[in-house]
């Protein structure tokens, strides 16, 4: 039997993607893990690998087409042994999580496999799909009114989570389902408007990225015990050091961020609990071996957090180059899922836009986030005299469930010491005594 591979949930709360490029042709033989298609979502551009080896019998969707999670991407004629297995186990696995072996599948470790009912039985996806539907799909459970409402509103009922008995989709579920993707171009009349037609509110459906941000923020606030610390540090030394270095540099100039990343990377080695995550279900703490620093970046669409991998092993220039590259990609929405994965600690330099102190929200399940405010000219006391200084405000939030107050204080002291006296970065780089 043939295996129909459906666009999997690649995490990040994305519900649909656009086909950018097909890597496979009909009739081509592929191995599991080979990239099938390049997809662009609201947030990333990513390659979707094949879960099975075999021959591509059918490809669904042309370049530029939008594909929803759960819709068929390719039909693969699998090798005999595997095929029988797939067909035997498939009905029971509908809507379950299929464990995927590592090869080529860094995506999220496991991929949510959409159930068999997960693609649209009623047309607009081409004849090919309909043929498969006839043999494979079962109609999603829904009440007659829910079906009528979904049809009217252009909502794919197969994508609506049913809350009725046995997962039946009810009219309420359709009411609740106002996903951005479905709503685009549709003037949905919200209930409130019925009541007060003269309302001055505008109702804008959430974009995928906004939904993802909202979900992640809420998850963090609901799961982590946020505790925040704020401090100020005099950085005249850093300001001059940076200026001196930049005067000598060709190409990319250094911002303050590489220095901060460097200082934090060094300090994380000494305070590994800030580079860890709490695995409460299994009653353990997971200490991360790599130091991968996420950088919160503001874009027109919303917040994205690309990750500088192995930051502790990179030079200031390498860090600066990487930051510049990420900034470019973020602006043009070219960040790939790979760019944003595996962060272990996050820095947000909100001061680049404005703001002195802030209470940053932890990038859950990480255990800490470091925020940098705007450096400003302030009077400071040096050698018993008031003199002009350059003051950098910093704000840090930690998950108090695993990070104690003393630990943060010691970590911060160390980081701030290095920022106050950047030559110390040289002294501590690569390990302490």
């Amino acid at each position: 039997m043939n295996y129909v591979f459906k666009f999997p949930d690649i995490g990040e709360g994305l519900e649909e993607g656009k086909i950018i490029e097909w890597y496979v042709e009909k009739g081509q033989s592929i191995s599991s893990g080979d990239a099938l298609v390049k997809m662009e979502t609201d947030k990333v551009v990513t390659d979707i690998p094949s879960p099975k080896s075999g021959i591509i019998v059918q490809r669904f969707g042309a370049i530029g087409d939008t594909v929803k999670v759960g819709n068929a991407l390719v039909e693969i004629e699998t090798e005999a042994g595997e095929a029988t297995m797939a067909s035997a186990s498939e009905p029971a696995k509908a809507n379950s999580t299929e464990a995927i072996d590592e090869k080529g599948f860094g995506v999220v470790g496991t991929i949510e496999v959409a159930g068999d009912g997960a693609y649209l039985p009623s047309s607009n996806e081409g004849i090919a799909i309909e043929q498969i539907v006839q043999t494979k799909s079962q109609k999603v459970l829904a009440t007659p009114v829910a079906r009528a409402m979904a049809k009217e509103r252009g909502i794919d009922i197969n994508l609506v989570t049913g809350t009725g008995p046995a997962g039946r989709v009810t009219s309420k579920d359709i009411e609740k389902h106002r996903s951005g993707s479905e709503a685009v171009g549709l003037v949905q009349t919200p209930k409130m408007q019925d009541a007060a037609p003269q309302t001055e509110h505008e109702f804008v459906p959430l974009t995928q990225i906004r939904k993802t941000i909202a979900k992640n923020m809420l998850r963090s606030k609901q799961n982590a015990a946020h505790m925040s610390v704020m401090d100020e540090i005099e950085v005249s030394e850093l300001v001059t050091t940076r200026a001196r270095i930049n005067a000598k540099l060709q190409g990319t100039k250094l911002s303050y961020l590489p220095f901060i990343i460097k200082a934090i990377s060094i300090a994380l080695k000494k305070h590994p609990v800030l580079n860890a995550e709490l695995d409460f279900d299994n009653e353990r703490i997971i200490y991360k071996k790599s130091i991968n620093i996420g950088l919160a970046m503001d874009t027109d669409d919303g917040l994205v957090v690309p990750v500088v991998r192995d930051a502790d092993r990179k030079s200031l220039i390498q860090l600066a180059d990487e930051i510049a590259l990420f900034a470019d990609k973020a602006k043009s929405r070219k960040l790939s899922l790979d760019d944003m994965r595996d962060g272990t600690f996050t820095i947000t330099s909100y001061g680049s836009i404005g703001g002195y102190f802030a209470v940053p929200v932890i990038n859950y399940p990480q255990s800490a986030i470091f925020g940098v405010g705007r450096i400003s000219d302030k009077p400071v006391i040096k050698d018993n005299a008031v003199v002009p200084g350059k003051v950098m405000p910093i704000s840090m939030s930690v998950d108090h469930r695993i990070v104690d107050g003393g630990e943060v204080a010691r970590f911060l002291n160390f980081v701030l010491e290095m920022l106050a006296e950047p030559m110390l970065l040289l002294a501590y780089e690569g390990g302490e005594r």
Binding site: T143, P144, V145, A146, G164, R168, S171
Partner: protein, 438 residues
């Protein structure tokens, strides 16, 4: 003694919750000061339906048998044997009571016959013992409100111990029970009077059904006297210069909560235990189900609430059910489900109503039961059926089809395409829905 759950009251709220609790592995104790099954089983739903059936059969034989071709007896010599009717009802009640006990036992539910008192949010005192419970369900039911006009009025619980039926009973109160009792007497050739304590006679019914009931009572020659038209002269009750002529007053008043004695402060709402959408009271760990929370006065609603509570205790998420059929076992029966016309109007919904009588229905004719109708109320956009009202000899069973339809958010289209067997009274459902197609 420690329990996961102590349930006070073994009526339809309590006993159904107990079975479900046992099935899902909760260590459960039910405490009732009287009999297993509560009001519903011992004096309410079941025994009243049993004697009503006796009365309906009596009337049928007396007034209808000859038309059906049955003769050889003197209709005027027919006698209603009240003692036998009660005996029959008691044996049904006993059988059902044993059924509950069996189900409890099978599911490991313990039972204690005693008065229960709540001493703390996790402790109940009964039979001179303190019983600890992680959760408590109060399912102590309701009783008719007291009234002052008829000091000698009897309570329904004592009705079944009467040796002889009154000839001119006066039924005081409001609600479905009063209609059932009035017709019970009238079918046996007695002369009942209803003194209504308010209007409409049956709360929550659609005006259309209320109008039908008034018409029907007139036909049965049962008069309804509004309470405020009563006066007293020399200590005797009068209605418009006529002394009230009755030999027994029966209290069928609207009901009020029966609250157990307790040491804790529970928030009340109009005298009933105030609950949230999961039937939780204001005290964590204490729930209230059935009549005592004032949400409805129906056995099936009480049971549904009981099950919902067990689901909630077990962390099972379930949408609360709100569609409870209102069934009246009158002659003919009356049933209503979902929204009334007034409610549709109030909600500002666009709706249509289609009604079809039973008088052209073959099965109804053969049964000599063609009085009645089925009425569909549906919104006009998707034609979702939102309310169903039935008057028919078997309305209380017919309404179940509407129950499934409403639960599944069905439309008139779904009803119209469902093939109904012929001949059945239920065919009227299909016929009336055809009328509702555009």
């Amino acid at each position: 003694m420690n329990y996961d759950l102590v349930i006070i009251g073994s009526g339809p709220a309590g006993y159904v919750a107990a079975i479900k609790a046992g099935q899902t592995g909760l260590k459960t104790l039910v405490i009732d000061r009287k009999y297993i099954g509560g009001m519903c089983l011992n004096w309410g739903c079941i025994p009243t339906k049993s004697i009503l059936e006796s009365a309906k059969l009596f009337k049928r034989i007396k007034h209808g048998a000859s038309e059906f071709g049955i003769s050889g007896f003197d209709p005027d010599g027919l006698v209603f044997d009240w003692a036998q009717a009660v005996k029959r009802s008691k044996s049904i009640v006993q059988k059902l009571g044993r059924g509950i006990e069996y189900l409890w036992k099978k599911n490991g539910v313990e039972y204690l016959q005693a008065e229960a008192r709540i001493v703390s949010p996790t402790e109940v005192e009964a039979d001179n013992r303190i019983i600890s419970a992680k959760n408590i369900i109060i399912a102590t039911g309701s009783k008719p409100r007291q009234q002052n006009s008829f000091s000698d009025a009897m309570e329904l619980e004592d009705f079944f111990s009467l040796e002889q039926l009154p000839e001119k009973p006066l039924l005081f109160g409001r609600g479905a029970i009063i209609l059932e009792f009035a017709q019970f007497f009238s079918m046996l050739g007695k002369k009942p009077i209803i003194v209504s304590t308010g209007l409409p006679l049956i709360p929550k019914l659609d005006d259309y059904l209320e109008a039908y009931i008034n018409k029907r009572l007139k036909k049965d020659k049962i008069s309804i006297i509004p309470q405020e038209e009563l006066g007293t002269i020399d200590g005797k009750l009068y209605h418009k210069d006529q002394p009230l002529d009755y030999d027994r007053a029966i209290n069928c008043n609207l009901r009020e909560a029966v609250l157990p004695d307790m040491n804790i402060e529970l928030e009340l709402r109009d005298g009933y235990i105030k609950t949230d959408e999961h039937y939780r009271s204001s005290v964590p760990g204490i729930y209230a189900a059935g009549d005592v929370n004032g949400i409805s006065y129906l056995a099936h609603a009480a049971s549904a609430q009981g099950v919902a509570i067990i689901n909630h205790i077990n962390g099972v998420v379930s949408e609360p059910q709100t569609n409870y059929p209102i069934n009246i076992y009158s002659d003919p029966e009356i049933a209503q489900l979902g929204l009334t016309e007034a409610e549709l109007k109030a909600a500002g919904r666009e709706y249509q109503i289609k009604e079809m009588g039973l008088n052209a229905n073959g099965k109804a004719m053969t049964e000599g039961a063609s009085e009645g109708f089925i009425r569909l109320l549906f919104e006009t956009k998707y034609r979702q059926v939102l309310g169903v009202q039935i008057v028919a000899a078997n309305a209380t069973d017919l309404i179940s089809e509407a129950g499934v339809l409403l639960e599944l958010e069905g439309t008139v289209y779904d009803l119209a395409r469902t093939v109904h067997a012929h001949p059945t009274i239920a065919e009227v459902f299909m016929d009336v829905s055809q009328e509702g197609l555009d």
